[in-house]
């Protein structure tokens, strides 16, 4: 089993993906946690822009981070399969190239929030993707996540 995801791993993602000029956003509960949502999750979810250049960049970045990708797996990531689940590296990571509930990467990027250099989806987009996915675990977390969005927006207004 991979090591537990911790802040040094988050920093490694931020720094290595930045060095490779990867366009991505933290999404899902991992993104919400970076925004301040007090909850638990098990892995990091990245929304990755689906372009050929970005596919090349994320595949190279993952290899540098220590993920053991076969040539075929790296090719799939370069191509941008919609969902890739990685359990073959220093921590667990899910890549999503086309999340439910979000029209385009460009739209999500334009609304992104930067937290200590981490690019994170806006809470509205995190919520929209969970609403569209509509899994049991999403429905359980949505009421509290929506309450957090209201709190988070109020804090930003009051700054």
């Amino acid at each position: 089993m991979a090591a537990r995801f911790d802040y040094p791993q988050a920093e490694a993602i931020r720094d290595v993906l930045s060095r490779h000029a990867v366009r991505y956003l933290f999404i899902g509960k991992s993104g919400a946690i970076l925004l301040g949502f007090p909850d638990t999750t098990q892995d990091a979810d990245l929304f990755v822009e689906k372009t050929a250049a970005n596919g090349d960049a994320i595949a190279s970045a993952l290899l540098e981070l220590g993920f053991e990708l076969t040539a075929e797996q790296a090719a799939e990531i370069r191509r941008g399969k919609d969902f890739v689940q990685l359990r073959n590296g220093p921590f667990d990571l899910d890549l999503v190239f086309a999340p439910d509930g979000i029209e385009t990467f460009a739209q999500a990027w334009s609304r992104r929030v930067e937290v200590a250099g981490f690019p994170v989806c806006h809470p509205d987009d995190i919520i929209a993707s969970k609403e569209a996915a509509n899994r049991v675990k999403d429905r359980e977390s949505l009421p509290r996540l929506k309450a957090f969005r209201e709190y988070w927006l109020k804090q930003r207004r009051d700054r």
């Binding site: 689940q85 990685l86 049991v136 988070w152």
Partner: protein
Amino acid sequence: MVDPAHVRGPREDWEAEFEAAARRPLPTRVHFSFIRTYKPVLDDAPYRSFETLADYREWCERNLPTWLGYGRTL
């Protein structure tokens, strides 16, 4: 008898949790938010990929124990 005016609802509890989290530094929040537990089936392969997210959702519905919550119904 408890006075309803003094009963905190979940929203008040949540707001107190949000306030407490906001006081913690980001590395501390991340440290205590990411946990590691084994998820049967899901964690049994080092790599999986799906052409579409709908394919992934369907795979979850068919293959994962319902109690993991990855399906649309329990």
